[in-house]
Subunit: 146 residues, 2 copies
């Protein structure tokens, strides 16, 4: 009784734990640490960090969640349109960048093809084979800077 359950709607079928973790992240308006997610899910039977980390690993693999390296925290992917962020099966659309407001915590996810291109060129010139690229801008969002 622990296998993924296919939903009427979208992409890869999520297990119960994966759904719970994703829903928490998707409803959040700021990144959450694994332990914060754990606390949110105690009422649903979560007791240990591994339950969260295992779900997160899968969600990351599915491209439904991003990890913010500079925060050790996680966010739901902001543009669920089909194969969002690179691996799914489809094409994805390259590296995603994040602008993180240090005041309100809000995160904007965006993509810049030219940036991708420049970093790709550098890699090619150096014979470096990129696996995963992290771009995170920390600062103040428009609302908070005002």
């Amino acid at each position: 009784m622990n296998a993924p359950v296919s939903t009427p709607t979208s992409a890869p079928a999520l297990t119960k734990n994966q759904s719970l973790v994703f829903d928490v992240l998707d409803r959040a308006d700021a990144p959450m640490s694994a332990y914060t997610i754990l606390d949110r899910l105690r009422d649903h039977g979560f007791r240990a960090p591994l339950q969260v980390y295992r779900a997160l690993d899968k969600l990351l693999e599915f491209g439904m969640v991003h990890r913010l390296e500079s925060l050790n925290a996680f966010v739901a992917c902001a543009h669920p349109e089909s194969e969002c962020c690179g691996k799914g099966h489809g094409h994805g659309h390259g590296t995603v960048a994040f602008a993180i407001c240090e005041s309100c915590g809000h995160v904007s996810e965006f993509h810049d093809h030219e940036v991708d291109h420049r970093l790709g060129d550098w890699a090619k010139a150096k014979n470096f084979k990129p696996a995963k690229t992290t771009i995170e801008i920390r600062g103040l969002c428009g609302a908070c800077a005002a």
Copy 2:
């Protein structure tokens, strides 16, 4: 007897602890965690993580060391030429990017003005005020990919 000691040579005068930490990083051929640095310096009287973290904080502030967010580790700045990386007093030269080999651990530090420019444009358009930008490419270096 705990004040910075001015050296004949370069930039900001470092205290004993700061020098020790910097030397360890500078001699390393891969990023080091704070705790690894601590272990390297036990023989020099280091006993606690804070001794390392405090030194690192200053070295980061001086722009002599970079933190790799995706690794929770630190490297000495690769181009010590004068005011390296942004804050010193001088101008610096914008955001630095890192290519991190997941096989041999080697880190290449580089700068791409166009990438800076594009990210700056995005920020301007969104009215976002950047404070610090992280760019890290993980993958395989030329030598290891071969």
